[in-house]
C-alpha cells in the first residue's frame, strides 16, 4: 500500500515539474459558489454542458454507421435502428439529449436573464452564451435533415427558404446553404459536414471562452441579493458543488435512458422530393413558435411580403437579445431594472403561447 502511494506521488511530482499541476489544484480548491435562495439556477449551465458531452459521445458512435448521401442515408439509419445492437439506444439518446440540451440552454438563458447575470463584467460571457445557443439551434437544424425522411426534407426546404428571404444576400446565402438551388443530396452532404465538423469546431472555441470566463469571473450574484448585503454563505466548488452537479447528471442519464426506451426516435417515411408536403408537417419544437408565427402572418404587410416582415422581426429580436448587456443601463449601474425583467417575461410568454398554438392548430386548416 505504502509502495503504491509513493509510486503515485512520484508520477504526480514528475508531471508537476513538467506541466505545473499545483496551480491548477490550488485554483480548484479556491473556487467557491455563492449560496443563496437562487443558487439552484447555477446548475443549469453545467447540465447543458453535460448533455453536450453526451451528444459528442453518441454522435461519434452514430458516425460509424451513418452514410451521408440521398440514396443511403435513410437506409443506413434504418439499418442502425433495426440490425445494429443498441443502435436504437444510441440514436434515441442522441435524439433526446439534443432536445434536452436545447431545453436546458433556454432555461439557462432565461435564468441568467432574470438574475441579470449579464451585467458588467460578464458581458462577454453573455455574448458567447448567445452564440452557443445559436450554434445549438444550428446543430438541431442540420441534424434534423440527416435521416433524410419526409418531415426533415420539408422542414429543411422551408428553413433554408427563409434564409433566401433576406434582401440582397438571400439568394446567394440560400445557394450556399443548400449546395444548389434545391434541397438535394448535395444539401445532405453539406449539412452533414457542418453538423459533424464545422459546428463542433466553432462550438469548441466558444465553449472554451465561455467556461474560461466563468472560471475567471466567478458566479454572478443577483442584484436583489447583492443589495441586501453580499451573500454570507459560499460553497466549495470541489467537492461540494461538483458532487451536486454530478447527482443532476446521473438523474439526466436515467431520464435519457427512460425516454430512449419508452419513446425511441422515429424514422418516418423516406424523403421524396416529388411528393407533396404531408399534412401536419412541423419543425422541431424549438422552432415551433417561429414556424407558427409565419403561418399566421398575412401574405402582405404594408406592401411587403409577410414572411420577410416576420423573418426580419425575428432577426432583430436575436440582435436585441445579443445586445442586452449594453442596452440594460440600469443593471449595468447595479440598479434594479424591472423593464428587462418584464421584457423577458413577455418574450417567454410569447414563445410559450405560440408553441402551444402551433401544436394545437388544426393541421388541415
Amino acid at each position: 500500500m505504502k509502495n503504491h502511494e509513493s509510486r503515485l506521488s512520484a508520477i504526480w511530482n514528475w508531471l508537476d515539474e513538467r506541466i505545473g499541476l499545483a496551480p491548477a489544484v490550488s485554483l480548484a480548491r479556491k473556487k467557491e459558489v455563492p449560496v443563496h435562495k437562487h443558487s439552484i439556477w447555477y446548475y443549469m449551465g453545467g447540465m447543458t454542458l453535460f448533455l453536450y458531452l453526451v451528444q459528442i459521445a453518441t454522435g461519434i458512435l452514430l458516425l460509424i454507421y451513418y452514410r451521408p448521401s440521398a440514396d443511403e442515408a435513410y437506409e443506413s439509419v434504418q439499418f442502425l435502428m433495426t440490425d445494429v445492437k443498441f443502435g436504437w439506444l444510441v440514436r434515441s439518446i442522441h435524439h433526446w439529449a439534443a432536445n434536452l440540451m436545447i431545453f436546458m440552454a433556454f432555461i439557462h438563458l432565461f435564468s441568467v436573464l432574470f438574475m441579470k447575470a449579464y451585467r458588467p463584467p460578464r458581458e462577454l460571457t453573455w455574448f458567447s452564451g448567445v452564440i452557443l445557443l445559436v450554434l445549438a439551434l444550428a446543430f438541431g437544424f442540420t441534424g434534423y435533415l440527416l435521416p433524410w425522411n419526409e418531415l426533415a426534407f420539408f422542414a429543411t426546404r422551408v428553413g433554408t427558404e427563409i434564409v433566401g428571404v433576406f434582401p440582397l444576400v438571400g439568394d446567394f446565402a440560400l445557394k450556399i446553404a443548400r449546395g444548389g438551388t434545391d434541397v438535394t443530396g448535395a444539401t445532405l452532404t453539406r449539412f452533414y459536414g457542418v453538423h459533424v465538423a464545422i459546428l463542433p469546431a466553432i462550438a469548441f472555441l466558444f465553449l472554451g471562452l465561455h467556461l474560461l470566463l466563468v472560471q475567471k469571473l466567478g458566479m454572478s450574484v443577483p442584484p436583489s441579493i447583492e443589495n441586501s448585503g453580499s451573500p454570507k454563505k459560499a460553497m466549495k466548488f470541489v467537492p461540494n458543488f461538483f458532487l451536486r452537479d454530478a447527482i443532476g447528471w446521473l438523474v439526466a442519464v436515467a431520464l435519457l435512458a427512460t425516454l430512449a426506451a419508452f419513446l425511441p426516435a422515429h424514422l418516418g417515411v423516406k424523403a421524396d422530393p416529388f411528393a407533396p408536403a404531408p399534412a401536419g408537417i412541423k419543425p422541431e419544437w424549438y422552432f415551433m413558435f417561429m414556424f407558427h408565427q409565419l403561418k399566421l402572418l398575412p401574405a402582405h404587410i404594408l406592401g411587403i411580403e409577410g414572411e420577410l416582415v416576420g423573418v426580419m422581426a425575428f432577426a432583430l429580436g436575436g440582435v436585441f437579445l445579443f445586445l442586452i448587456p449594453f442596452l440594460d443601463r440600469n443593471a449595468a449601474r447595479g440598479k434594479s431594472s424591472p423593464m428587462f425583467t418584464w421584457i423577458g417575461i413577455a418574450v417567454l410568454a410569447y414563445i410559450l403561447v405560440m408553441t402551444y398554438l402551433g401544436y394545437t392548430a388544426d393541421p388541415m386548416g
Binding site: R157, K175, I176, F274, P276, A277, I281, L294, K295, G365
Partner: protein, 151 residues
C-alpha cells in the same frame, strides 16, 4: 550625423512593417479565396425542360382529382377540375417552396406547410402565399398528356 539617421531607420522600419502587413494580408486572401470558391456550389446545368409527357393517361385522372408529376427536376401538379378540365401547375408553393397538393374536400390546391390555399387557376386565395402558382399549358394528344411551359 545622428539627426538624418533617425528618420531613415524609422521609415525603413515602417516600410518593412508595411511589407510584412501587406504580405500577410495577401497570403490570407490567397488562402481564403479558394476556400470561399470551394464552398459556393458549381452551377448546375439549368433544367432545359420546356415540355414533358406525363406517365399516365387522361383516363387515369378523375374529375376533382390531383396528380403530382415531374417537370424536369421540379415537382408539378396536374388537376382535373370538377368541371372536367385538365390544368397543370408548378407544385412549388410561392411562400416557402413546399410541395403543394390537391384537396378533394376543398376542390382547391393546398400547401400543408403553412396552410396556404390556391384556387383552380393557381391564384393565391388564402394564407401566407404572396404570389399565384406558375401555370403550365396542357395538351391532350390521344392517350398522352403533354405539359409545357407557357410561351
Amino acid at each position: 550625423m545622428s539627426k538624418p539617421d533617425r528618420p531613415t531607420t524609422e521609415s525603413r522600419r515602417g516600410f518593412v512593417n508595411w511589407l510584412l502587413g501587406t504580405s500577410a494580408g495577401a497570403f490570407a486572401v490567397s488562402a481564403l479565396y479558394p476556400v470561399v470558391r470551394f464552398v459556393v456550389p458549381p452551377l448546375e446545368a439549368e433544367s432545359a425542360t420546356s415540355s414533358v409527357t406525363l406517365p399516365f393517361t387522361p383516363a387515369e385522372i378523375g374529375s376533382n382529382e390531383g396528380k403530382p408529376f415531374r417537370f424536369g427536376n421540379r415537382p408539378g401538379l396536374l388537376v382535373r377540375t370538377p368541371g372536367g378540365e385538365l390544368r397543370a401547375f408548378s407544385a412549388e408553393c410561392t411562400h416557402l417552396s413546399c410541395t403543394v397538393q390537391y384537396r378533394t374536400d376543398e376542390s382547391r390546391i393546398w400547401c400543408a406547410c403553412h396552410n396556404g390555399f390556391f384556387d383552380l387557376n393557381g391564384a393565391n386565395v388564402q394564407g401566407p402565399p404572396p404570389r399565384p402558382l406558375e401555370t403550365y399549358d396542357v395538351n391532350v394528344r390521344g392517350d398522352q398528356i403533354v405539359v409545357s411551359l407557357r410561351a
